[in-house]
């Protein structure tokens, strides 16, 4: 069995330590070692965005990052988005707009939308569609997702 490495990183603002094999992706570490199962595996090769997380402020597919690469870095996942008594405005907007059906892609879309609004608080519809093109949803036809992000942008930039 492959020898495991010790990694110390920050996840959702908390210092976290874990052991992982070099070949384990960040997605595997989050899900199987830390039980943060909000990031989903849809393809495991960077094409669906269901595993989207924010690494040092940058949106990444966690299936394309190795667990060991996160040493000393900062990871934001869906589990860290809401406050104890309040959802994040993007989460609220997804609920209000009925922007999810099965919900498997939802955490990835929300993290992707957060990364977008962090860098561009007032995106146009086209900019939203361009940014979110790395996230696949098979249920909604994207209409309500795009509208939710437009609403969230209004909410967060107001």
């Amino acid at each position: 069995m492959a020898r495991k490495s010790h990694v110390q990183t920050t996840i959702n603002g908390e210092t976290v330590e874990f052991l992982c094999e070099s070949r384990q992706s960040l997605l595997e570490v989050l899900r199987d070692e830390l039980y943060l199962t909000g990031a989903k595996e849809g393809c495991n090769n960077g094409n669906c965005g269901a595993c989207s997380v924010i690494l040092d402020g940058r949106l990444v597919n966690s299936c394309l990052v190795l667990g060991v690469e996160t040493e000393g870095r900062s990871v934001e996942t869906i589990e860290g988005l809401a406050e104890p008594d309040k959802l994040h405005p993007i989460q609220d907007a997804f609920l209000e707009n009925a922007a999810l059906q099965c919900g498997i892609c939802t955490p990835g879309f929300i993290m992707s939308a957060k990364a977008l609004l962090d860098s561009n608080p007032n995106p146009t519809e086209h900019e939203i569609r361009y940014w979110l093109a790395g996230n696949l949803c098979r249920c909604t036809g994207y209409d309500k997702i795009v509208k939710a992000v437009m609403d969230a942008a209004q909410e967060t930039s107001a």
């Binding site: 943060l36 589990e79 959802l87 919900g103 093109a133 036809g141 309500k144």
Partner: protein
Amino acid sequence: MAEKKEYKVIGTRPIRHDGVDKVTGRALYGADFQMTGLLHGRVLRSPHAHARIVSIDTSRAEAYPGVKGVVTAQDLPEAEDRVADLGEGAVNLKYLCDNILASDKVLYTGHAVAAVAATSPHIAEEACKLIDVEYEVLPPVMEVRQAMEADAPLLHENLKTTSMGETAEEPSNVASHIQHKLGDPDKGFAEADIVVERDFVTGTVHQGYIEPHNATAHFNQDGQLTIWCSTQGAFTVREQVAEILQYPISKIKVVPMEIGGGFGGKISVYIKPVAAMLAKKTGKPVKVLMSRSDVFEGTGPTPASYIRVKMGATKEGKITAAEAYLAFEAGAYPGSPVGPGAMCIFAPYSIENLVIDGYDVVVNKPKTAPYRAPGAPNAAFGSETVLDEIAEELGIDPLEIRLLNGAKEGDRRADGPVHPRIGFIETVETAKAHPHYTAPNGKKHHGRGVASGYWFNIGLESSVTINVNADGTINLVEGSTDIGGTRSSIAMQAAEVLGIPAESVNPSVVDTNSVGYTAVTGGSRTTYATGYAAYEAAQDVKRKMITRAAKLWEVDEDNVQFADGEFSCINGKEEQISFRDLCGRLGQTGGPVVGSGTVNPGGAGGAYATHIVDVVVDEETGKVDILRYTAVQDAGKAIHPSYVEGQIQGGAVQGIGWALNEEYIYNDEGTMTNASFLDYRMPTCLDLPMIDAVIVEVPNPGHPYGVRGVGEVPIVPPMAAIANAIYDAIGIRMTELPMSPDRLLKAMGKI
């Protein structure tokens, strides 16, 4: 039943009950399930499209450190060559078992051959590579017309064509032939002023749900088997696993986890029995997950097909006769959706003379599985394109010709049933009046197309239990997997009966030990049938609560009435109590109230849709862009309009993908070369405009609130609507799917 009336809850848009769990990442899907001592399973799949298995040697894999068990078809009980009904139609058990783990032959690249359980998924994957399988490779048959030829290589030596009750003498790849006939087609064509005949080819496409299949199984020492999984129907998983493993259903509990999409593709079992076999062999819980390429290569897509459609009409546009020939690829084992395709193809129209022939044909591709209105989109691509051509030749508006021939209540569908009240005409009239249809459309290479579609919807069995809480809320227990907000659409129907807000209902989807039998979430049946069961369960609660109020007031039950959430005494005494307050007094009036409802309703009521699309064709690249899209659909009664719109938008977009990009691409050896989301190109949000979903409500007489299933029909019209728009843009009739850039360039004579 089903008269138009005002509702308090139905038709509103509450936040869905499982919403917060799903936007915070808390909701647990099948792959999220964790358990102490869990082993991880992986499946070895065939690299050949068609081969005989000479031998399988698992000894090197078994000896690999970390490996706890290996299974092959040898570990399955001997399958009988008999047919069983497993909640999704009749299935031959030998075929069902062979599709789980191949015994004598592999019939497609990706066919499961063996499986390994190990202490980590990586070890299981490595160990799969150490299983030595010797194959005798056979020539593959990859296309339906080739498979139907007399000298085609045979997939199954014992498969003989059944045709209208007769079985042929000689084996063939054609599993069955069906025919529907009305009137006298020859006479009808003789009466026609115009006859158009074309043939069509559609590619193999996948449902494309984002969540791969998953299953965790555990055998207790007392023989109790539990399976945690994502499925469209926990009860059908129980039935299929029981038949495959020859194990009693009373010893199997299936726990439905949240499901990441299905669209029909998560009804058949693949790795669930394998997880159970590995759990049995190792004595440990085993979780088996598919990779994305496993999903493409090892689970049912919807079939490629060859279709010929001929229609005749008078110069006034009245259809006099129609004929269709449908040959569908079943994949490795019989069971394509050619039956539903034949039922739906001419169902939007009232046609006196018609004949439809359907053929179910095996080829060396994965066994097909249902995909949203299975069979109907293939068929409608043909019929709706030919009708467009007739309208164009006659100089009649394409929506006008649909109004002229549209099916109404009392008309007969080709396969026999007479339509109840349906809303086809209303969808066409609404489309015709929509600003999209009247907007200017004259630019070069821009085109507009329309098409309609039909899906019959199904009823089937559902069970709901309601437990009344002391604070005036209710806990609603149901067995329908929630794939798109059905917890809410079901809860809202119970809330309407009891005069309480949607938020006062706590719906739970529970395991097979905890609710009455409930058929799959499929056939657009969940809001209709499980909603109907919730309505019945709420009526049961209401009756019991009336008894309690009568007891409280010491009057006859006949003297208690219930309206707008209030019980009142209508004879003598001036008494009144709200539903909520009475809930608080159940203890003193006889104890808890539990209501139950079980249904198997026959009046699902067919659904119709009419779509309008504007496209632009890039003459240089052959790429088609969707500029504007309007989808009109009869929902009967929209319980939660946002999620009805969502079904319409999602279905239309899957249809757009099917029309323009999606297909399995095979090499000469019969191996899929694009088994990833990069190369199997599903629409992204950048490929699309907003989809304008327009709900028409023609109440279904077969449901207390008039509900019709809405999930499937929106995928039926897009392919033909887009083909008709492309014709409008560049004057070329596209008859092959997908209408990808290379096919457009070929059709335009550019390559």
